[in-house]
Subunit: 134 residues, 2 copies
Amino acid sequence: MSSDPQLDKLKFDDNGLVPVIVQDHGNGEVLMMAYMNLDAIKKTIATGKVHTYSRSRGRLALKGETSGHFQLVKEIRTDCDLDVVLLKVEQIVAACHEGYRSCFFRQYDAGAGDWKVVAPKAFDPDSVYQQQKK
Amino acid sequence: MSSDPQLDKLKFDDNGLVPVIVQDHGNGEVLMMAYMNLDAIKKTIATGKVHTYSRSRGRLALKGETSGHFQLVKEIRTDCDLDVVLLKVEQIVAACHEGYRSCFFRQYDAGAGDWKVVAPKAFDPDSVYQQQKK
């Protein structure tokens, strides 16, 4: 229980997670998909900045923690089944750690041998994540 | 293997599924989230109509099979990790079986006791799904 009746209605999966779609509130671009547990949602609401649950790191993560590329929440939606969350955000700089504004920068190209990159880079990941480089 | 090198690069989960975000290609509205297996993606590409893998029914499902509310695929994207698919579609009538254009018709309403419905109904589910009613 979360003491918030709206959050109590969300249906988390067996791992206590719910998929989260993050969308630019201005132009509607889908920026990324991630997962949240109840703590991540509560912290997102309390701070106004997107927090996710990182399955690879096994912990809560503030989106933009290293890069400063925060996502400022404008609106929180859920779907008919109450098992997916949609966040409309103001994206600082870009969402993708590969330097693109949206993580969905690859388009299916019928008959081609590989996905086609269809977006320009918004920043240089090598310089932004420099301190993490080996 | 799928004989399609682009599909071979997608990373399916332990159940052979990948989450799929469906977005209106015209106005950018996020319509729904679903899951696909390799067969569902191949059938979606072959027919131009969204097919999903229904986890509750344990089988492939043509979106709009009962209602006629098909989703016509305009663009297929994937994300930086190649483990999420984004489909931009032309939505016939509406995506949600509850009668709304988008499944994300509920908005978080700070301090309120329940999620707030923020979208109008696009059709009457009782008449569209009449033959399925008990």
